[in-house]
Amino acid sequence: MTSFLRKRIISSAIPLVFVVLGVFCLARLTGSPVDLYLPLSATPQQRAEFSAAHGFDDSIPVQLWDYLTNAAQLDFGTSLRTGEPAGTMVLDAFPVTLQLAGVTMLLAILGALLVGSLAAYRPNSLIDRIAGLLSMTAASIPDFWFAIVGVLVFGVGLDWLPTSGTLGGPEIWVLPIATLLIRPFGVLVQVVRGSMVGALSAPYVKVARSKGAGPKRVVFGHALRNSITPVLTVAGDLTVGLVNGAVIVETIFGWPGIGKLMIDSILQRDFAVLQAAVLLTAVTIFALNILVDVCHALIDPRVRQAVPA
């Protein structure tokens, strides 16, 4: 197991370097931040001073080298916008997104297992059809639209929930989580249902049935266990996709998470923060992928041999 893990981690470190290089170069292609941070009437000399002070007048390779040597010492630069260390800003924002994503995925997986197996219990029954239609619809609603409708209906119209923000009791979590939840939930219900229907016609289920296990026990005892594997895989990928959702949700609801930080730092050409944020997200995604692999390997010994590297 440890050698599997070690190989997996080493082979993941190489892509990480490419992520750093990629975001560094892409960011610089979006143009110089000088105009954004100086008054419109700034003189050319002031512009030159600003560029020199922040190292924008060096060539890209020189800037990259500076960045890499500093990053190796865990110095990720200073935000142009706030003047704070980029590393600190990113670490402050990260837990917010992690909590949002964690709670969302937990609810999505549990909910999908429940609804999906109910649906698979009687394929083509009314419940199955309603669950199928609802989950497919949920997976195809634009999230920002859902969020704003949610604010207008539940925040203003019905007055049940706060409109936005992070100040308040547990009810402030409802709308952001619901917005993030709809797509993973919709997809996962279909995954659970699909793999359950498949599992229910598998030989071991027949064995269980022939031994006299009731239909409930067959579905929730035997088949459900075996559909965990694809659910885990898809859930891992959907969690990665949650970063996209987090950008929208955090922008609309005013949550100080890493999605909002990233989009703001793109708009403000705050390269240091963008780089640090993407790096941290990438590391997290790698960790998540490894976690999923480890879970697979724990569940299925065959995977351990099949994994490349």
């Binding site: 979006t30 143009g31 931040p33 105009d35 954004l36 941070y37 100086l38 008054p39 419109l40 009437s41 700034a42 003189t43 000399q45 002031q46 600003f50 916008r81 706030t82 003047g83 800003m89 402050d92 924002a93 837990p95 917010v96 909590q99 964690g102 709670v103 937990l106 997986i109 704003i148 604010v151 925040g155 203003v156 007055d159 409109t163 936005s164 923000g165 992070t166 100040l167 308040g168 009791g169 547990p170 979590w173 071991y204 266990r225 075996n226 965990i228 922008t251 609309i252 609801f253 005013g254 949550w255 100080p256 930080l261 703001d264 708009l267 050409r269 724990l298 569940i299 299925d300 010994p301």
Partner: protein, 531 residues
Amino acid sequence: MKSSVPSSPRRERGRAHTVLALLTIGTMLLTSACAVANSDAAGDAGSADGRTLRLVLTQEPPTLEPCESSLTATGVVVRSNITEPLVERDPTSGKLDPLLATGWRQTKPTTWTFDIRPGVTFQNGQPFTAKDAAFSIDRAVNSDLACNVDGYVFGDEKLEVHAVSPTRLTVTTEKTDPILPLRLSFVEIVPRTTSTKAKVRIPIGTGPYAVTSWQTGVSISLARNENYWGKAPAYPRARYVWRSDASVRAAMIDKGEADIATALDHTSADKGNTVAYPNNETTALRLDGREAPLNDIRVRKAIGMAVDREGIIEALLGGLAKPAAQLVPPGVVGHNDDLAPVPYRVAAARALVKQAADDGVPVHRQITLVARNGMFAGISEVAEALQYEMDRVGLNVRIRMADTATHLQYQLRPLPRNVGPVALLIMHGNQAGDAAFTTSQYLVSDGPQSTFGTKELDRRIAAADALSGKAREKAFAEVLGYQNETVAQYAYLAHMRGLLGLSPKVRYRPDSATGDEMRLAEVGPARAGRH
């Protein structure tokens, strides 16, 4: 390949571990989530009692450093709330009012003397003297902090500042500077214990409110400064939050989660909870006269005629603007009262374009209409309307919606090369109140935000700038009229108005400076009876 049988003991154990791990992670997340949510609950509950003024801005201030307060996002919180300048400009009359200085006069051609208000203390209890004023000016203008206000107001100018006595300050410039007090109205005063090596994130000032806490990304809380030298503000506490979506800001006002919201959108805001106010901003298309077909004045004038200003204002801007005929709104020195908006005449515009085409002007060359996302509410619809209207008179236009940084590349010299003819949608705010600021930026042929001009126009602008009083007003008014007739670099759209969300519970009258400086001391609870 055999299908896996779930009773293998090894697998069973592995899966049990996984499930256990998942459950543990889940529980941890849920509990920590509740912990985060609840930590702020107390602060939030305090807001419902009407003693906290709750404001929602469009974005979080990047910093509260006073010497950066010429940045809108910073200034709207800091200026006149946390820190104060020596003098302030009345946004309505344009006059300078005393604040931390009680009087000022030009004692030598290059020297101004200020009388410092006695008996003022900083929020940390330290008394305010001329030394602090001298320190603050030095810090903002002469230090290596690269303060935004330095570049914004003073350029390369170096000032020599002396505290002659605790209540007297002299400021000496290299050249005669008749508007030095106006410039100093941008310098916020901080105590002399403030760092000169680094910018401060949370400042101390003499203002009516002091910062009590700043939860990064969440809120900024202020508390009333009980030792304030002036009239005590009505609300003991104030709290800023920020939401970037206008419909969410509007929803917060409608729901009563906020008392004041900036930059609302007429489409999503409830009419009863908003106040419109002129914000001194003017929108126009800047036509790059160096590139065909925009290098032909007939084409530029045709664009002016093709724009349906009334229709755009009525349908897209919620009727909250006035058709414009020049870059400065009424009230600015040099505004030309005689200029009327170009009438909307499609046929005449089409004829002009055809005339130009007959003379060999390549009117079908594609023009790029560049507009900035979020410049004002309804910007993308306005861009579409302009594109359609320009297309209709025989031009070929495509839209490029840009973010602020990209838009600035088009707006400022050096202008981007090889981008073809550009019609740039600009929004110009003349906060200084004098047309000279506009002409030097937008009209002179080498102005930082001008694409071209004529020698004659440059000459007239220089001549007008040397004048003062009534003659100055008249000369600048003539300059604006002359540019419309013979240069026509701009197709004007409208003098804009801002929309402020205001809960029925509070009373506040926004003015043209509200966007840059929102004085919380002027906000009070609504009188009984107003609902």
